[in-house]
């Protein structure tokens, strides 16, 4: 999916919501366990209920890998289901990969060829040759970790160099030598609040993938205030707050309602920004 197609989807749907598919059998309602492939069936129901209100889905690989081969089968089926039934939705594999060049090439092949997903989260610690192999695919996206939503983000990401430049800022600057606004986004946690201003100084035009609204305590309004740009430039993710909003037979309907509530808030924010 190109940048222009993504912007068009956001404007049509009045939403920049990404639904995080952190699918955990321990939190799924009892009713799906009667079906053949519970993880996939749960996702399918969530996807069909939320699709009108979001522009992206983000399966978190950890949750699928934790169930071994069966989990990975559910991941593959989920991606195929989205491609077939909701082809205008961006599929982001949240996998935080990154390794030496020849290994990153293999990961790129996995996600962009074998699974044919649209975007992949990548960790920057190993530098240029760990990231660039993912940038060789037309219409695919690298989403590089910049300033994450978790407490541990303070351990290294805020480290200042002798010139006062923080590590996440160095990642933002350096990585723009490798990719551009058409093939690279950044992960910035919703919990970082006003720090979005600093991010926008260095990456005014890039899309940002923003986890941490909801369960992790980030505020949508604050993210929009400091992070939105002239093309919106945001994909705000909610996982647990949507997919586990209810644990009974009506879980999908309730998830759809939660997604619609967020979509309505996003519509307001887009209007405020004149979009």
């Amino acid at each position: 999916m190109t940048r222009q197609e993504l912007i068009q989807q956001i404007k049509q749907k009045r939403s920049f919501l990404c639904v995080g598919l952190d699918t955990d059998p321990k939190k799924m309602p009892q009713c799906v366990f009667d079906l053949h492939d519970p993880i996939f069936e749960f996702n399918k129901a969530i996807i069909d209920a939320t699709a009108p209100y979001c522009v992206a889905y983000k399966p978190n690989l950890a949750f699928y890998e934790a169930y071994g081969i069966k989990g990975m089968e559910a991941f593959v089926k989920t991606c195929e289901y989205i491609k077939e039934n909701h082809p205008n939705h961006l599929i982001i594999a949240d996998a935080k990969r990154g390794d030496i060049g020849n290994t990153s090439q293999m990961y790129a092949r996995t996600f962009f060829e074998e699974y044919n997903i649209d975007a992949l989260t990548v960790a920057p610690y190993m530098g240029e040759d760990s990231v660039t192999p993912f940038l060789q695919y037309e219409g695919k996206w690298v989403i590089l970790l910049a300033l994450t939503s978790n407490k541990g983000s303070h351990d290294f990401q805020l480290t200042e160099d002798a010139q006062g430049e923080r590590l996440f800022e160095k990642v933002l600057k350096k990585s723009q030598e490798w990719g551009n606004t058409n093939n690279m986004m950044y992960v910035v946690g919703a919990t970082q609040g006003k720090m979005f201003e600093d991010i926008r100084k260095l990456a005014p035009d890039h899309f940002l993938l923003v986890p941490g609204v909801g369960a992790q305590g980030g505020s949508l309004q604050e993210v929009c205030k400091y992070g939105m740009n002239k093309d919106c430039g945001l994909l705000v993710n909610s996982s647990r707050g949507i997919i586990y909003a209810s644990n009974d037979d009506h879980f999908a309907e309730v998830a759809g309602n939660k997604a619609r509530e967020l979509q309505q808030e996003m519509d307001e924010e887009l209007t405020k920004a004149g979009l």
Copy 2:
């Protein structure tokens, strides 16, 4: 596997070799393709030929994931084969995972429960809560990226803070608040040469996993000179230099010879160090 058990294996075998199973069908000899599961059969032959000369195996997840479900089945079968037939070998999953706390918990479950491997490489960028979930398993190891073997390692890992401390040094120091010499090792690339002296100032007793000897150009002698400690403290990995040493029907025998050559060099280094 405990630290004491690992040290004992090294002393018994006079080897601190880790064989990297970066298994790539494009580089495998023709003869294995007549068998039912070529990736697994290739690994099985390599493992049986090299087991007397090494103390660890390191399957690189990227190579298995690249072949989807079938690739992951081959990975699982490979780990099971090592556990059953060579139970004193450490199995390191080279996966470079790391995510927010609840997601890292899922990854830890995958590798340490579902696959029951002994050690996992982890990326430090997201800080404490991305690493500590992996440290909750008795007898299992986190191998944290410190100073990697690739060219891109210079992009961020060498960044100095205002006090002159480099990022990899901060990772070494900070992470010792989370783990200890019994559950944590560090990745340090063989290509880093004299930098091992700086690593040993901050982590004198930890084991180091050292990739980059062979195809990437690192020198075993230099690594030992600057990196070996009183317990050896090194696991030196070779992947391509061993497993693709020959591409004909005798590939396993040639791989075994290559592993034995390295073991003999390691024996000399251990003797030099009085071990």
